[in-house]
Symmetry: C2
Subunit: 453 residues, 2 copies
């Protein structure tokens, strides 16, 4: 049986299940908007402007990762990166490795640690768990100039040198721009192994480059399966029309609701190990679409906030607001049909009505009933939702989901007419940080900021 691709259930986003506020058949049919989005993305890919779909077909990077890993055997893998340089690897670890991976004997793959913040406690406590000689440090920064990554790497580099002397460079692998940037120059000078982040792939679209695949391989995640899932979804998403083109269809549904005032998307996977995946998607969606101007320069303040939740947990935290609060959201559920394990609830406590009905059922049956119960409850208040289902949380499905959400984001960017691949709004804060930290060349800005002290 070939691996099963995700499926999309949008009945609670459409009429007649949602009679008043649901989308009509013509809203989600093949149309000029959807055709233009598909053609627009294809054109950007052909023009070499957008590279993320190509990654699913790349055989060079997996080969060089495998070759590098054969000679680099370490007990610990320490990733230094932030935002798009760490969220993807964290999502893969949480989804695809067992709970408590780092802490069990007989684990498959290295232990995985991340320094994704300039947090003194985090940095000091993490280093105290590791011995330099057992640790491979992966410093990840596409530009090579990210302040947080530079600061943490300077600390970790010194920690390595203190213990290993001039052999420390064998414990460092840098993932950065293939040619440019200070991290590339430093890697040349100090002799670090390196992996490239292709110049046509932005940070938040980079999980299927070495940014995500190198840590994945060291943790023992199958790159081959990941890319196989991504490839299957890329083929679907770049060739088919509606309704078979699932990422294009979900982009269109989200676009329709966005233009009807729904400024927040609630992404709610029913699986505790997809929390980090939700955070990865949150960056992808929010940073790609949150744009002041469209491609013609018109001020649009586009974008949609993404509130990540976990079912069933956040039924007890967010559903009250979702059902009764401001009607400005669309909920996107993720359903896992057949998880790896079945845990059966024993037939005990039969005289207690709140327990008795659960006896003999599995946790998965309860989990799936809760999701269904919640989408129906939302629909009964005319609050729209849709669901994506995967057969199980494995490398193939996660690869497919990664490509699904990347394509959906790219299509939504085309529909909104914005550039989904830049982040001009982050620049101002970076310059302010340089000024406040006394970086040479920023004196004028520093003087201007002094009035806020």
């Amino acid at each position: 049986m070939p691996d099963e691709l995700p499926s999309l259930d949008y009945r609670f986003a459409t009429q007649p299940s949602l009679p008043g506020k649901g989308l009509a058949p013509e809203d989600i049919a093949d149309c000029e908007l959807s055709t233009a989005a598909l053609e627009g993305l294809r054109r950007r890919i052909q023009a070499g402007e957008v590279g993320f779909t190509r990654l699913a077909y790349d055989q060079t990077t997996p080969r060089s990762i495998a070759s590098f890993a054969r000679d680099a055997r370490f007990q610990n893998f320490l990733l230094i990166g932030i935002g798009g340089s760490s969220l993807g690897a964290q999502a893969l670890l949480a989804a695809l490795k067992p709970w408590y991976h780092n802490w069990v004997a007989g684990r498959r793959g290295a232990r995985f640690f991340v320094l994704d913040n300039v947090d003194a406690d985090l940095v000091e406590r993490t280093l105290s768990m590791l011995k330099p000689r057992d640790t491979l440090v992966n410093v990840v920064s596409k530009s090579g100039t990210t302040a947080e990554t530079a600061a943490n790497f300077m600390i970790v580099r010194r920690w390595l040198i203190r213990s290993l002397g001039n052999k420390f460079a064998r414990h460092v692998v840098a993932t950065t721009d293939p040619e440019k940037g200070e991290l590339r120059a430093l890697a040349r000078e100090e002799g670090f192994a390196t992996f490239p982040v292709p110049s046509d792939v932005g940070g938040r679209f980079s999980v299927l480059t070495a940014v995500g695949l190198l840590p994945a391989h060291f943790m023992g995640v199958s790159i081959r399966q990941l890319l196989s899932g991504a490839r299957a979804m890329a083929e679907l998403g770049l060739s088919q029309a509606l309704p078979g083109n699932l990422p294009l269809l979900s982009a269109l549904i989200l676009y329709r609701f966005r233009t009807r005032g729904r400024s927040t998307q609630v992404f709610m996977p029913y699986a505790s190990n997809l929390q980090a995946f939700a955070d990865w998607y949150r960056q992808l969606w929010a940073e790609s679409l949150g744009k002041k101007v469209d491609r013609s320069g018109r001020v649009v303040n586009a974008g949609q906030a993404l509130l990540s939740s976990i079912g069933t947990i956040d039924q007890h935290s967010q559903v009250q607001l979702l059902r009764e609060g401001p009607d400005d959201k669309i909920v996107f559920f993720l359903d896992v049909k057949r998880p790896g394990r079945q845990v059966r609830i024993p037939r005990d406590l039969q005289k207690y009505p709140s327990s008795a009905y659960l006896g003999g059922r599995t946790l998965t049956e309860l989990m799936r009933a809760e999701r269904r119960a919640t989408e129906i409850a939302l629909a009964s208040d005319e609050r729209p939702s849709m669901s994506i289902s995967i057969p199980r949380v494995d490398a193939f499905s996660i690869g497919a989901l990664i490509m699904f959400f990347e394509l959906q984001t790219a299509f939504a960017g085309e529909m909104l007419g914005i550039n989904a691949y830049d982040q001009p709004g982050v620049e101002e804060g970076k310059l302010n940080t340089f000024a406040l930290m006394g970086r040479p060349g920023y004196d004028e800005r520093r003087t201007a900021l002094a009035r806020y002290e």
Copy 2:
């Protein structure tokens, strides 16, 4: 020196820093709305309707917890609960215990595990990490009828019995309603130790009852310090007028922005160990204020979504959207002035401009500069924000913050004229779950739901 209470900096929410969209002095001055909110809450407290502020003064619960803990020495503390029954304890653990608490030798306090979801992988992997004889199981449900908690407890109870036989009850402590409910009845029948959740304290306001304090004590967190911080804030919040009454002031600021169309609050602590605290606050704020009708029965669909973010991480994930996307948010930063540790960045790599300026500075200086840089960047686009500062992340400050956010939520509920203490919108989903799981008595609903299969 007495412990220092949090402080509030709201200049970037007000004129003149935010000339166009900032609040005017009269918007945040003592007014009928703020006075009525303060008096309203005081009245509910006196009427015995609202109990959360009283918890800061409770000496009975801490004493009975200490007494119970003297005879119950366990290596592992396993909490079974969901929503308000687990988020508080998880926030305390993450904030107040060192990173990797469970995994280091010489830890102070028990190891802490949580089953907060009916997730088969989570449940099975967690139990595989524990031995029944070393484990105290704390089952927490105010109503005693929560499906997820019942299901997980049935599994864990059987796991205990298989190994310990009829001595298993010594390994169970139930936190539930003092009189009513099936968990209370079961505890009586099986002889579990119990702690009460007072009937005038709802789940999301219950972290300072045994719901949060029992796990805190077992983990080695100082209950005395927590309550001392909470008490100091309760005294401020129930006695003072504006502008000294910080929770009342922040409630008013958030209310003003809410009525001007800002339907999302972004809560962004600059400390990685406050992620779980942000999730606790997210439930408190969203579930308390997200209400369809006000106290007079008028349909208002009140409430504000809470998007929790962590600085600096989410500068690289959310700030693009916050600066350039829809202008419908207010950002609430949390700043830690002097964390426990100082980690200095070495003066290396001086020929690399992106590293050189960081040499000699501390991670905390960089963290605080980043927050300041971000609030100024937001203000330059007329995007409002405010900041709460704490001296450090310790039990006193966390206790003070818990009471701060609870009071702020209660005041905002008064201003909105809604009942901040119920959750009617969760009921429908619960009934649907009963029906889908075949609970006796729900046949009619089950038939009605069959059309969605």
